[in-house]
Amino acid sequence: MRTLIQPRHRSMLVFLACLALFTIGVTIAAQFGLVSTSFVKTLGKTLCLCLAALAMDLIWGYAGILSLGHMAFFALGGYMIGMWLMYARTAEIVIASLANGGLPATPEEISQGIATQIFGVVGASDLPAVWGFAHSLPLQLLLVVAVPGVLALVFGWLAFRSRVTGVYLSILTQAMTLALALYLFQNDSGLRGNNGLSGLQNIPGMDAVGQDRVSLWFFWASALSLALVYVGLHAIVAGKFGSVIRAIRDDEARVRFLGYSVEGYKLFIFVLTAVITAFAGALYYPQAGIINPAELAPIASIYLAVWVAIGGRGRLYGAVIGAAVVSLLSSWFTGGRVPSVPLGFATINWVDWWQVLLGLTFVSVTLFAPKGIGGVFDRLAGLQSPDRKGAPLGPDDGALQEKEAQQ
């Protein structure tokens, strides 16, 4: 118990308390009908995005690897869970309709019916091999973790092994997500091309339960996952392992000369964050209801970086705050509920100008407040960067300069 109230754990406890209060508040509000089902879904989705942002913060804010492809893992996780949801749901419908046919359906007829139902839209009638495990929830849940994990492992191993770093790695990860998106856009990729998977909000076997209950369950699950992952990541970054990855961020060569396997650490972080992101995606898409290859567009991953940058990287709570604030503001502004600003000669309609505001805010944050919103908490807590008499905090090009760190 004594270790828990150490100052370095204080931020985690505050965060968990806030999250618990928030969850309880939303639950009560939903019970009394103060917030709509769709808003509960939006909040649940936002928590999943926060989860992804946590992973992004770990790999970028702590390990200094700017991955522009993590939303690919997010979407892959969504696809994996979506396959089971769609398969099981279609199976229910097909069995019900075949039962009206007079004879009990054979297994061949059922699988043929499911295949026709799912793939009629892309002009195919056979179930592709990638759907081989779709009938089983445990197997598909395993794939949620395994597919993005293996992809990250192979990609990361190739990239780190040949010492691809910095902007090269960023562009390479961007190429990875673009390649994956283009692949999934094809109709013969086996995942319904640009139609994607849909109807994911209907949980098989739970027709009797209303969407208002289901959305609340998913909200709780998202909040719980966020809390657990936060605690786990906090344990990682607060310990010795965290010191090593921060050291890699600041001076990779020096860590290597100290005898650490830099590539091993990087690979571990890359795979771990990929798995966390995929898990977040698997929670996100049943709430969103639909997934298609556009979710893997390179821009999505860049937005993930934007959230973390605005929230404040190198602080776990910063990533959560950034993702929550920016994505909620974004849906508020683009939802058309923000009053327009008349300027006399023109009117600023926020649906059109939100992107501009976001882009410029982002540039300003990068220029003037590299610590993002999290920096405000640092200042409140009286945290100061070490005084290095004007020298950079780290010798690497990517390290913060002292002057910037104090802003």
Binding site: I171, V306, L367, G398
Partner: protein, 643 residues
């Protein structure tokens, strides 16, 4: 039967009149002509066409155009033209014959079938028409719709042809018709062989019908022109083979699952069918069992079992039969098609190389600006795509004010450079200058600028595509033969890319600015201590890179849709080009662009229907390529190399 007799009589009555004049033929067959129908009129039309009478063509043409009339009083035919009161009459020989009231004249109105016959008969006259345009049109119509009937008139018209171009076309068409329709097998073979390895689409179009095949089943080799025997299982799927047998009535149809289900349902009594309970029918084996019982009881038709199907397949052989009966002709055609195939393959390779080159020059143009900023300053400019878009929109705005397309493009090119140069310099001064030590943050900050710029462009110009029209002299394509062609716009872009390569080399190697840029690239500190102002150099290089993006935008806008997302389509490819090529070296960028453009076209060639797959595989290849050459094809030491 009556029809047949009428036809027969008509033939008899026309026969003796062969050498006579049109007037005599018409009046001898006036009954037939007046009530002309497709079945009966052919001999009359042929007789007119075959007569030596010089007016035959005029009369036939007039007939088809409802310009032929019959005077009821004396049964004579006239060429008629309608006037207010009635018709002006012209004698068939061309002399005027006064006029007549409408009621006196029966205007002949041939139906579509008869008009078709007349048109065919007229071909020989139009082929010899004194107007070359008409002759050309007649040739085109024969080429489009080749028939055996056209062969004889075409041959007849060759001797009198004066125009050498048309003569060549006639000879070629005559050969094409000969190889398809001539009665003499040797003539057809020699016609086929006479073409050698000609690449024309028309030749391939003429040869392919000769080689068309059908599959038929027979117990032993039939006496037809066999292309090859198909082995069941190797050349032919057993299911497909059995379907051929069923279609030919040589075997009974197999039981489909649907038919089986319906039969079982129909014979359902008291929850049992064929001794199997209804609830147990949830697998195929149980259903088969129940159906067999029903078969034995005689309640359902007997379906072929697997053994019977196999026996039926074994009893028959399957052959691909040429629809063309003459083996000598098909052999010659096959040889010709094969040799053409080889030539076409070579030409396609050439075409592919041209395509790849043109794509490479587009990528080169799009990437060269990025290569400058990335290579010289180590700055990733994510807003590069938006600079390309701005360039294209500049071209669009110029065309709003300057309507002459050639002039507008000539104005747009430097103007786009100026606009994007200014944008680039502004961006460098305001943002990038502060982030030189933090490349990852530069990437993100420029991305912020990119989304802001993109949205501003969308707000200003709307989401729909704006036209950027190329001058008329850039329309069309340079056609080498039926396989190899390249559009003029792509040639122009290739030339533009060459110009930029030259310009860049001159700038870097021959000017003071280039010298200073190279110095700053290699070692900024040392360059500064030599009196070079690195700030100024950075600003100018960034402006230069952005300006070239603007010009690339104008070039790309000429063939792509100008929308606010134009640049985003090229940005990742541009990054790839720079990364693959190697940073800080123009030759590297060139090599990267050539490799990526060429590769993409090659992959597309193997899977032409799927450009998405091509891009996917290309990116995968690049990711793997980076493994082996992490610094690109041409690596450079210095600040840009990051070591």
């Amino acid at each position: 039967m009556r029809l047949f007799i009428a036809c027969f009589l008509a033939v008899l009555s026309v026969m003796p009149l062969r050498a006579e004049t049109v007037t005599e033929i018409l009046s001898a067959n006036s009954e037939l002509v007046e009530k002309a129908s497709r079945q009966t009129i052919a001999p009359v039309i042929d007789a007119i066409a075959a007569s030596a009478d010089p007016t035959a063509a005029t009369v036939l043409a007039a007939w088809a155009e409802k310009g032929l009339g019959l005077r009821e009083s004396d049964g004579r035919f006239f060429l008629i033209s309608p006037t207010e009161e009635g018709f002006d009459l012209t004698d068939l020989t061309g002399a005027s014959a006064g006029s007549a009231a409408k009621t006196d004249i029966t205007q002949l109105k041939p139906n579509a079938g008869v008009r078709g016959l007349i048109a065919t008969a007229l071909v020989q006259f139009t082929l010899s028409d004194h107007d070359p345009a008409k002759r050309q049109a007649a040739l085109a119509s024969i080429a489009q719709d080749a028939t055996a009937e056209a062969l004889a008139p075409l041959r007849a018209s060759i001797a009198g042809e004066q125009d050498t171009v048309l003569l060549a076309r006639k000879m070629r068409l005559e050969r094409l018709l000969t190889l398809r329709f001539d009665a003499d097998s040797a003539a057809r073979v020699s016609a086929i062989e006479g073409f050698g390895a000609d690449l024309g689409l028309d030749l391939r179009g003429a040869l392919n019908p000769i080689l068309s095949t059908t599959v038929m089943a027979a117990p032993k080799s039939p006496s037809a022109n066999i292309a090859r025997e198909l082995r069941v299982g190797r050349d032919l799927e057993p299911v497909a083979a059995y379907e051929i047998l069923v279609a030919a009535g040589l075997a009974p149809a197999r039981l489909t699952l649907d038919a089986q289900r319906d039969a079982l349902k129909a014979n359902l009594t008291d929850g049992m069918v064929g001794g199997v309970a209804l609830a147990d029918l949830d697998n195929q084996a149980a259903r088969d069992r129940a159906y067999t019982v029903l078969e034995q009881e005689g309640k359902v038709p007997v379906a072929a079992t697997d053994d019977e199907a196999a026996a039926a397949l074994a009893a028959y052989k399957f052959f691909e039969i040429y629809t063309e009966a003459d083996p000598a002709v098909t052999a010659a055609a096959k040889a010709a098609i094969d040799s053409i195939g080889t030539r076409v393959g070579i030409m396609q390779t050439a075409d592919l190389a041209l395509d790849g080159l043109s794509l490479a020059s587009i990528y080169f143009l799009a990437a060269i600006g990025l290569a400058i900023t990335f290579g010289v300053m180590g700055v990733i400019n994510m807003a590069h795509g938006e600079f390309i878009t701005i360039g294209a929109y500049t071209g669009y705005v110029v065309q709003l004010y300057v309507t002459d397309y050639t002039a507008s493009i000539l104005i747009a090119l430097p103007l786009a450079f100026a606009v994007t140069f200014a944008c680039g310099v502004a961006m460098e001064r305001l943002v990038i200058r502060h982030l030189y030590k933090r490349p990852l943050e530069t990437l993100l900050a420029t991305f912020g600028i990119s989304i802001a710029l993109q949205q501003i462009l969308k707000n200003v110009f709307g989401t729909q595509a704006r036209p950027l029209t190329s001058p008329a002299w850039l329309d069309g394509a340079w056609v080498l033969n039926d396989v190899v062609s390249i559009s003029y716009i792509r040639i122009a872009i290739f030339v533009l890319a060459l110009v930029f390569l030259t310009f860049f080399l001159w700038l870097m190697k021959r000017t003071r600015l280039g010298l200073e840029v190279r110095a700053v690239t290699q070692n900024p500190t040392m360059a500064a201590s030599m009196g070079i102002n690195p700030d100024r150099i950075n600003m100018l290089t960034f402006g230069l890179g952005s300006g070239i993006a603007g010009i690339a935008g104008v070039a790309i806008g000429l063939f792509a849709k100008v929308t606010s997302e134009l640049g985003t389509d090229y940005i990742v490819q541009s990054f790839m080009t720079v990364v693959v090529g190697g940073v800080g070296n123009i030759w590297g960028t060139l090599a990267g662009a050539t490799m990526i453009g060429g590769l993409q076209k090659v992959i597309e060639f193997f899977n032409p229907s799927n450009t998405l797959a091509a891009q996917t595989y290309m990116i995968l290849f690049i990711i793997l390529f980076i493994q082996f050459r992490p610094r690109g094809i041409i690596a450079l030491r210095g600040r840009a190399a990051g070591d």
